[in-house]
Amino acid sequence: MDKIWRELGLTDEEYEKIISILGREPNITELGMYSVMWSEHCAYKNSKPLLKYLPTKGERVIQGPGENAGVLDIGDNLAVVMKIESHNHPSAIEPYQGAATGVGGIIRDIFTMGARPIALLDSLRFGTPDDKRTKYIIENVVAGIADYGNCMGIPTVGGETYFEESYKGNPLVNAMCVGVIEKDKIKRGVARGIGNPVMVVGSTTGRDGIGGASFASQELNEESEEKRPSVQVGDPFMEKLLLEACLELFETDAVVAIQDMGAAGLTSSSCEMAARGGVGMELDLDKVPLREEEMTPYEIMLSESQERMLVVVQRGREEEVEKVFKKWGLNAATIGKVTDDGMIRVLKDGKIMAEVPAKSLTDAPQYIRNEKIPSWQQELNQLNVNEIKPPEDLNNALQDVISSLNIASKEWIYTQYDYMVRTDTVIIPGMDAAVLRIKGTNKGIALVTDCNGRYCYLEPYVGSQIAVAEAARNLCMVGATPIGVTDCLNFGNPEKEETYWQLKNSILGITKACEELGIPVVSGNVSLYNESEEGPIYPTPVIGMAGLIEDISKICTMDFKEEKDAVIALGENKGEIGGSEYLKVCFRMVEGLPPQLDLEKEKRLQQLVLELIKKGLIKSSHDISEGGFAAALVESAISGKKGVKISLNTSLREDFELFSESQSRAVISVSSDKVEEVLKMAEEYKVPAQRVGIVEGENIIIEINGKKVIDLPLKLLEESWKGRIKWEMEKN
C-alpha cells in the first residue's frame, strides 16, 4: 500500500484527511470509495465554489441542482425534468460504447425522478474529419447515440455539432434528456426509514469501468490507454426494461427513494442517498447479483456496470418490487437496509469490509484555485479587421461559408436518430429548436443545446453569455418562452491557472445572462481535464434549455412559406467579424473579440418575436448566428425550397454586412399585408427592423447599396449545404 492513494488520484493531504475522519488508516475498499467519491467527476471539488454563483431559483423551479435532475413546473399539475451529462473521456477511448453509455446514463437520471423520458439531445464536438481516427470517432459516437436512443424508443430531437481542431484528441459528447411527470409523483434520492430494505435492481454487476469516475478526472495521454478501466458496454434493451419496470413500480407507493448507479456505482448511489437523508446504510455484498466470479468488495463497490438502480423500499413491500421486476425479466435483490448511524457499512462473508461516514464521502474537499488571465489572451483578441482583404467574389465566399462543416446541415447525423418515435415531435431536427407536444394538453415544450466554443475561447465571459442568449433566442424563434437551463461545463485542467480563469469567467457569464433573461439553472454537469497532447479544448459551456409553449398551435419555423412574402431583418448589424465562421473558413483565422452582447436588446428581440408568433403575424423566423445574415437567409430559403431577393443599404463593408455574427438578430418573413403592423410592433419593442426583400424565384440574390453581390441558384447552395458532411464522411 505504498502511497497507493496517489495512484487512485488522491493527494497526500486528502489521504491525511481520510485518516482523520476515520481515526485510522483506510483499507483498500474504503480508499477506493473515497477516491471515486472525491474525484472531480463525482465531487465537483474544483467547480463547486464557482457553481454557487449560478441562479437556481425561480417561480417554476420545483427541484434545482443537487438531485438526479432538475424539475420545472409547467402548469396543469405537470413538470418537466431535465439534465445534461458529459461522456467525453469514455467516448475518446471507445467512441461507440462511450457515447451509448452516456445516453444510457442520462436517461436513467430522468426516470429515476419518476418521469417518462420524452426526448434526447446531443451536443457534439469533434476534430475535423480529415483524419481517419477522427472519422472513426464521429462515425461511432453517432452510431452509439443512435443505437441506444433508438432502441429505448426515446426520440433524439436535437443537438449541435461542431468541428474544431481543438477537440481532435478530446472529443466532447454531451447528452441531454428531458422527461415529463405529474408534479405529485416526483421521486427523490433521499433514503429514509430506519430498517427499510435497500435493493439493487436491473442488470448484474461485473468489472465494468472500475475507477471510471477517477479516470474521467484525469487528462488523456498515452498512458490513459493503459490505465483505462475495462470498458462499459451499454445494453439499451436492458435499460428499456428497467425504465418500464421502474415506471410501473412508481405506480405503487412502495418506493421510498431511488437513485441510478452511474459513475462510482454502488458507492455513490448508497452514500448519496444516505447522506441526503441523514441516515446510514448497511450493504451485504454477498447478495449483489454478480456477472463475474470472485469479485472483491473493492470491485463490487466501484463497478460501473450500467443499467442498475439502487432502491430504498418500504419495509415489507420487497415482494411487490420483485414481482414487477420479474415481469420484465429483471433482477431485484435486497442487499441491505437503512441504518440510523450515518455509516456506510459494507459486509462480505459476514465480515465488515468497509465502514465510513456517508456524509464524509459526499463532502469532498473543495478547492478554490488560482486564476490567471492567459498570456496569449491579449494577442488573441487583437485583430485589425481592416487589414483583412475582402474576397474578390462574394458568391464563392458564401458557398464556402454555407458548406463549412459547422454551418452545413447536420442531416447526416440526425437521420440516424429516430426523432419521431412516440409521435410527439412537432418540429423535427433541422430547425432552430425542436418542439414536442404534450399529449392530453394544449402545451408543448421546445428544446435546444447551444455553445460556440470559439467565442468562449476568445472571451469566456461574453462567449458564455452568448451561449445562454442564443439558446434562449432559438427557443423564442419557434414560439417558446425559455423556462430553464441545464448546463454542461466542458473545460481543461482546472489546476492550470488559465483554465481556472476560463472556467470562472464562463460561469460568471452564464450567471449574468441567466439572471438578466430570468432563466434559472436547474441541473448540470462539469467535465474538467479535457486536454490531450495537443492542449486543452476550447472552453465549452454547453447550455441545454427548455422552453414552454402554452398553445401548441402557435409555433413558427424558419422555412420561407410563400412566394411574395416580405423578408424583414430584425436587430442591428455591427459588422463584428471576430471569431466568426467567415473569418475561420475564408481566412483561417480564429482571432479577435467575439460579438458583443447587450442583454437588454437581446431580451427585447426575444420578446418581440414571441409576441409576433403569438399574434400569428409572421410566417417564418430564424435567428442569425454562425455565418451571419447570409447564412440565416440561405437556411430559410433552402428549408422552404424558395428563392429570395434581397436589397441592403449599409455603411458596412459588403462582406461584413453579409457574414458578421452580431447578436440579437433574426430574419423573419411576413405576408406583405402584415408588414406595416410588424414594423410598428418592432418599433414598440425598440428593435431595429428593416424590410429587406421578398421571397421569390429560384435563386438567392443579394444587392448591397444597389450592387448585386450575390446571385446563386438555390439548388447549388442546397447541394453544398446538405451534402458536405456526408461527403466528408464517405470520401476516403
Binding site: 452510431a143 443512435a146 443505437d147 433508438n150 432502441c151 429505448m152 424508443g153 445494453d235 439499451p236 434493451f237 436492458m238 428499456k240 426494461l241 420484465w328 425479466g329 440526425y414 437521420t415 440516424q416 436518430y417 429516430d418 426523432y419 419521431m420 418515435v421 412516440r422 409521435t423 415531435t425 412537432v426 407536444r437 399529449k439 401548441i552 398551435s553
Partner: protein, 224 residues
C-alpha cells in the same frame, strides 16, 4: 371494433400505434402483453415497431417465440386483420406468417425520415382508401428494412399481387424497392414505413390514415 397492440419486451412504437388508433381513428384499443395466449376478443391485431429483445440476434427472431405469437397465428388463420409495422413486420417474417426476410440496410445505417411510398395493390383491406400508383408520404425509421426474397418467391408475390407498397426511391436496398407485403389470403400485412406516425395534422402528416382507415372501412363491411 377493438384493436390490440401487442407489447413485446423492447417494443416502443406500441405507444404510436395506441394513439393512432385512439386519437386518429377514434376506435377502441388496448395494449396486450406478449405472454397473452388468447386474442379472440380483438378485431384487429397490431404488431408494433421497436426493438423486441433488443433485436440482438436478428430483428424479430426472439419475439416470434413469444406465447402471444401462437394466438396471432390462430387469429390469422381465422382471417382477422393483422398488421405488422417495422419490427412487427420483421417478427411476422421470422414467424413465417409473411414471406421473405429483412436484412441490414444497404447503407448500414439507421434511417429516419419521411419518404415517398407508392401503392402497388389497392385491393387489400388495408389499402381501399388508396389508388394503385398513388404516392403517399410516410415516415420510416429502421436499421434493418432491407427486404429480401428469392427469385422464385418474388415471382409468386407478383403473381398473387402480394406486393402492397414500394419505396419511390431505393432507400435501403430492398429487392425491387419493396416496402410492404401481404399474405396470400390477404389479411396479414407487413410494412416497414410507419402509418401510425402519420395520423395528426399537428405532426404534419395524415397519410397514415389512408391505411389505418381502410382497415376500419373494411371491417364494417364484414372483413375478408
Amino acid at each position: 371494433m377493438k384493436f390490440a397492440v401487442i407489447v413485446f419486451p423492447g417494443s416502443n412504437c406500441d405507444v404510436d400505434c395506441y394513439y393512432a388508433v385512439k386519437d386518429g381513428l377514434v376506435e377502441e384499443v388496448e395494449y396486450v402483453w406478449h405472454q397473452e395466449k388468447n386474442l379472440s376478443k380483438y378485431d384487429v391485431i397490431m404488431l408494433p415497431g421497436g426493438f423486441s429483445y433488443g433485436d440482438y440476434l436478428r430483428a424479430g427472431a426472439i419475439a416470434r417465440f413469444s406465447p402471444v405469437m401462437e394466438a396471432v397465428r390462430e387469429e390469422a388463420e381465422k382471417g382477422k386483420f393483422i398488421i405488422g409495422i417495422c419490427n412487427g413486420f420483421q417478427i411476422l417474417t421470422e414467424a413465417g406468417l409473411l414471406p421473405g426476410a429483412l436484412r441490414k440496410n444497404e447503407g448500414l445505417k439507421f434511417i429516419c425520415k419521411t419518404v415517398s411510398i407508392i401503392v402497388e395493390n389497392d385491393k387489400t383491406p388495408f389499402t381501399t382508401r388508396l389508388k394503385k400508383g398513388q404516392e403517399i408520404l410516410l415516415p420510416i425509421a429502421h436499421g434493418e428494412g432491407n427486404y429480401y426474397v428469392d427469385d422464385k418467391t418474388l415471382k409468386e408475390l407478383k403473381e398473387n399481387n402480394q406486393i402492397v407498397f414500394r419505396y419511390k426511391e431505393n432507400i435501403n436496398g430492398s429487392v425491387e424497392r419493396i416496402a410492404g407485403v401481404i399474405n396470400k389470403k390477404g389479411n396479414v400485412l407487413g410494412m416497414m414505413p410507419h402509418p401510425e406516425r402519420a395520423y395528426a395534422p399537428l405532426l404534419g402528416n395524415t397519410d397514415g390514415l389512408y391505411i389505418l382507415g381502410s382497415i376500419v372501412d373494411n371491417f364494417v363491411k364484414g372483413g375478408v
